[in-house]
């Protein structure tokens, strides 16, 4: 397995390898970053605000005089795990429903599609606002809410894929063999959707990162003193005119993380070229 993985990496295009490197970098930071943080995440230690990079504060300080490096290290953990978790959950949920829908067909399909349309038609940020206001914003709830909001989008894509696949001969073969719906969904249909689903996961990942930053725009999101990367950008927005590292660094972090994830996923596509 690991040998095959190594092979894949070796055969990957340059952009794919860059993507992999970026994703690995952020994953490692997400896991180990907080341990490396030179200062407590909530400590108000700089007399100045929005100071530039220096000896004590490698990446300067934020709008309250906190250490940007430490906050970014913590923020990457929240962003990576929340966004990754929510994206995976959304895809898991959406795809499961889509498979159920496509294999069952008929009324089940119709009703599910309607319900998903209903959810999909609501503006995501406002919907999130309502849900957060109604249920609260603990980490688990944020994760679930973000996942819930992106389930319909994934359902739409997964259902379209699954319906095409269900019509394929090899699914007919499995049906003719007498296989149950679960086997067909899990072993016949799902493996053939993996790549488009991965691409969709990458996209949902970006969406969740943006949703979190959008929520911070509304004053919701990860509980202080912690903040996800998007919230870091948001809370330091007044540092933008002076190009403070406090805003530039998290913005670059988000960009490199999402671009990396998508480059990697693009490179994992079979054929690789398209």
């Amino acid at each position: 397995m690991s040998g095959a993985l190594a092979m894949r990496v070796r055969n990957m295009r340059l952009s794919g390898r860059i993507g992999l490197a970026l994703v690995l970098f952020w994953l490692v930071l997400a896991v180990g970053g907080p341990a490396l943080a030179p200062h407590p995440v909530g400590a108000f230690i700089d007399q100045e605000v929005f100071s530039g990079p220096g000896r004590t504060f490698w990446l300067g300080s934020d709008y309250l005089g906190r250490d940007v490096l430490s906050r970014v290290l913590w923020g990457s953990r929240y962003t990576v795990f929340l966004a990754l978790g929510a994206a995976l959950l959304a895809v898991l949920g959406g795809t499961s429903l889509a498979l159920f829908s496509a294999i069952r067909g008929g009324w089940t399909d119709e009703i599910l599609a309607r319900a998903m349309d209903t959810l999909n038609s609501m503006p995501s940020k406002i919907f999130a606002l309502v849900l957060v206001a109604a249920f609260g914003s603990s980490l688990t709830l944020l994760l679930l809410i973000a996942a819930f909001i992106y389930i319909p989008g994934n359902y739409r894509i997964a259902r379209a894929l699954a319906i095409n696949l269900v019509a394929m001969d090899f699914v007919q073969v499995a049906r003719a063999r007498g296989e149950g719906a679960f086997h067909i969904a899990r072993y016949e249909v799902l493996p053939n959707m993996i790549h488009p689903l991965l691409a969709d996961t990458g996209l949902r990942f970006v969406f969740v990162v943006l949703l979190l930053s959008g929520l911070s725009f509304l004053g919701l999101g990860v509980q202080p003193p912690y903040a996800d990367l998007g919230s870091l950008v948001r809370e330091n927005i007044s540092g933008l005119p002076m190009a403070a590292p406090a805003i530039i660094v998290p913005a670059l972090a988000i960009a490199s993380l999402t671009v990396g994830a998508n480059l990697l996923i693009d490179a994992l596509k079979p054929g690789g070229k398209a």
Binding site: M168, D169, F170, A176, R177, G178, P191, N192
Partner: protein, 611 residues
Amino acid sequence: MTVELAPPPATGPSDASAAAVEVRGLSITVAQPDGTRRAIVENISFAVPRGEVLALIGESGSGKTTIALALMGFSRFGATIAADCLRVGDMDIAAMGQSALRGVRGSRIAYIAQSAAAAFNPSRTILSQVIEPLLVHGLAGREEARARAVALFRSLALPSPETIGDRYPHQVSGGQLQRLMAAMALITGPELVILDEPTTALDVTTQVEVLRAFKAAIAESGATAVYVSHDLAVVTQVSEHIVVLQNGRMVEQGDSARILTAPQSEYTRTLLAAARPAIRPTADAALDKVLTVDSIHAGYGRIVRGMPATPILADVGFTVRRGSTLGVIGESGSGKSTLARVIAGLLPAASGEVLLEGQPLPRAMAQRSREQLRRIQLVFQNADTALNPAQTVRDIIARPLAFYHGLKGAAAHARVDELLDLIRLPRALADRRSTELSGGQKQRVNLARALAAEPDVLLCDEVTSALDTVVGAAILDLIDELRRELGIATVFISHDISTVRAFCDEILVLYAGRAVERCPKAAFDGHSHHPYTRLLIDSVPDMDPTWLATRAAAAGPALAVSAIAPELCRFLPRCPVAIGGLCDSNPPPLHVDDGRAILCHRAGGPGDASR
């Protein structure tokens, strides 16, 4: 295997420079991931005299299409064309730039693609596409172009030539579309026409008409032609010269007649042999009837009193004995595949019964027991789509083992290896994904999966149609051997009457969902047949250059019939020997004798029903 040839062809034109097309030392290479270049076509040389037809023949992967496209200076996937000489008329194709080539394509050199259905743009009208070469090359105005197109449609014997161009590609039949594409190619009066397997996708009965139309149109236009095909018999009808290709190299070339009568290379001989399938001996059929299909009606939509809203099959019945093979033949749309689906239970019959060793099976698959499902296995037509691309060969074959026999782990592993041996695939392929296999290998895996269930009945739906002749012949041999060894009753569905005739113990002819004839192999030759069976037999080209010319144009229908009542003979609108006042008013009677059954008014009388 490959025969080294002296560069100038022995036969063919004496003065190569007078040839309309001259190719010398053509090689086509593609870049490998490691930076080196691999030749997919190597050292090809031939010439075509003006106004004559040269055939490039070979199996898939032989490079025949690649060579043909190179004549237009076109290569797929960034391949590089190199040649000592690549000349069409006065044009040095190899030396031309992209914009010069564009000016030539579609005007002086035209191309007819294998699948007209794919090569026509589905969202534009046919006429707009047919006249496009004239417009883009500035050869005619819209009105004149339209007039030329209509004239061509007429000469290609297309129905309603004035208006057919206003339709969209999906609104005309495959044979018509193929002829429309010929019109698109010929409309600019090109010097060279390249035909790439133009009849392969068609039914035999249609193929004859299209071939005839092509031949006439090309002769009329005076163009030189290169005809790409895998089918020797078809090639024989249209070409003066043949180049035999294998793996990108020339194996043999010469006059058609010479190649057919005195092939020099082993490979050509193999091709010839595969094209004329040997009649296999009838199986020593056991007496027990394994599968009985009794008066099946089936179709789609809501079922009212045993009749579906859209009926496909009507009153079809037969029996198959252990170890014997029933061949089901008919053109596309005749209900062949539906029959297989009904037997497998994928499409529950509206009425009628399927009996397994005398025991009636529930119509719907969902009601059948796992054991019942195991005993009837369906092998799908297209192994490309019937094998899950995400699974390895071992996954695919092991699943029925686990599902029906509860075989897991080492036992399953060993059994998969056995099955691979049985279908003659190297065990090393077991861990490949199906997408990495060749067409023939895929079809073997497809077969192995069915065999893994250890079925009593094997339903083979067009299992060789998508394969090259030689590969298909090997698959047929395999099936034939297996059913003898394992005593499986086989239902073999095909559109190719020569295969069925060679291979099956009994033949069932389907026309528009009805069994019009049932006939044991022993009684096939020298007996009268249903007029439709006769048409099928006559449509298979012989390995005789004169066959197309000598075969009388299919007689038109004897009766002008607009719409027929469902109980009347369904072949009536096409039947050349229909009897007025009888066929168009009474349902056809079933005549049974000598183990044969024919659904026709004429069959009752003496002599051949079809003459």
